[in-house]
């Protein structure tokens, strides 16, 4: 590997952010934390992001809206969505936008780690 794997965590809740941060680090990955979609878009080293864990409902741009913005860009890291609202419409919107996975909160850690691993597996 040329660089350490970096995961972006975008969630408006600080407790969740910190918990995910710790989890990702326990797996040996690096992490960058963002409290909102806008904060993520303002981040200048987005090229280095390998995967994103994104909350759907956030003040300002939602996770889905963030996905739409990123889809117009060159660099599109796989996105794993997490939400407390498991409505089918949002799920469909996320999946149509090319989401890697759509998970309900509270997050099933094993599932999350499984998706994370397969998202990071180099495509041969």
């Amino acid at each position: 590997m040329s660089h350490t794997t970096t995961i972006a965590i975008v969630d408006d809740d600080q407790a969740i952010r910190e918990a995910l941060d710790d989890l990702v680090q326990s797996c040996g990955y690096d992490s960058v934390l963002f409290a909102s979609a806008e904060e993520y878009l303002a981040y200048d080293k987005r090229e280095a992001i390998d995967c994103m864990l994104v909350d759907v409902k956030m003040p300002g741009l939602s996770g889905i809206e963030l996905q739409a913005v990123l889809n117009k860009e060159q660099h599109k890291p796989p996105m794993i969505f997490m939400t407390s609202y498991r409505d089918d419409r949002t799920r469909a919107a996320a999946m149509d936008g090319g989401a890697f996975a759509f998970l309900g909160k509270p997050v099933d850690i094993n599932k999350l780690l499984g998706f994370l691993e397969s998202a990071l597996r180099p495509v041969n």
Binding site: I16, A19, D22, L23, S26, P59, S84, V107
Partner: protein, 526 residues
Amino acid sequence: MVAGAGAFLRGQGSLQHDLVIGLIALILLLTVFYVDAFTKIEGAIAVLYVIALLLLSEVVTRRALMAMAILCAALAIFAFLFSHGIDPGIQPTLRLTVSLAALAITTALLLRNDTFRSELLASNAALRESEGRYRSIFDNTKVALWEHDYSRVRSHLMELKLQGVTDLRVHVRSNPGAATQCMDMISTVAANEAAYELLGPHAGDGGPGTLRRYVASDDETFIDLMQAILDGAEHFEGKGTVTTDGGEKRLVLLSIGLPDDASTFNRVVVGMIDITQREMTQKALNEAQAELTRAARAATVGALSASLAHELNQPLGAIGVNAQTLLRWLDRDPPDLAAVRKSAERIIRDGQRASDIIQNTRSMLTQNTNESEWIDLYALIDETTRLMEHDLQRDAVVVDIHRNTRIPSVKTVRIELQQVLINLMTNAVQAMSSVDAAPRTIVIDVAPRTDEIVSIVVRDNGPGIAADARDKVFAPFYTTKASGMGMGLSICRSTLEARGGKLEGYNHPEGGAVFEITLPLEDLHE
């Protein structure tokens, strides 16, 4: 001759009777004249003309009477001159003077009598007319009128007053038969058509004790009426229950004008309007309103539990992630104990946060009583904003609370005021969701309006109240939302009004809708 006589007659008795009286008077007149003029009887014979005048006054008109009086005087003077010549002497002159005086006085008295009589007749006719008019009103009005004789009960009450009774309720409590005793002293004099319709076919039956059929002896309004009579009140109004002849209970509005004059208490009119239907409608309305308030409260509880679930989901989710991460740190070889400690500390912190949320919710729910309490408005607004945090965050709405001055506490029902605030803020959030222009802001401004009134203004920067909606926003079932019931603002307004407050809605000159709550600083409803 009969026709000629007719012109002078009053025409009140039969013509024959009048003619007989006239004839007798005429014979008397001629007899007196004959005796006065042609016999030597000394004395004031001419005085006897007054008898003829008295008789005639019964049958002839004023004019004819005056003409007759002048004729009598002329005859007396003629007889005097005829029998005494030019030099009559003192005695006969005195006698003539007495006679003429008697004639003049009698005529004057008769004329005055006649004036009085015609005045009496006129006023009697007016009285009859007014009585007739009153009867026609009494009979034809739609208000049930019931005439009672209160004279006996009034004297009885006045006696009680002399004995020192001032409060009849107290008196009745210590003398259980007193109310019935009063009721038995009242008898019905008359009832109009509407009263028969209301009470039944026996409404007009007289006799003492008849009232007891219609009014319960422990009826409080009856005692109040008796109290009004005892106090010498001029008017009595009240709500009472009557039982009709058919055994049905009707709620009536009573209105009784009590006379000033003790002697007219024998005919007191009791006006009754049947309000049974109205009261029932009012009751149904109140029940519907209460039902809607309960529904609105249930909706608030629903919103509350959704917000609670969402709020708890965050720390609980974090705890789950932290606990599993902790296990991963432990499973390492060697275990990363410093990381384990950090995870455990996060679990404790998030657990505390979850517990705080539950604590706050519980304290909010235990305040769910209908009792008024002193409320710090700023604290309540802060608490409500926290409760709404989820909705506000979701729509990216900023709440700006203006804390201009120190606001005295208001006394009102906390949960009610909070529901109103939640409703207004939810409306504001929804109104602004259609507007893209950022930032979406709710301004809450608390300020004393006067010494007695404090106002809470909730203003948004949404599209404002549409012109055609301005008059309707507070009307029940009016809504601009696809899923709305249209009860929110209507209930808010009546909730506030029940506590002496107000709710008004208008547009801000710089745009956006303004809803203004005003509350009395002293709760008048306690």
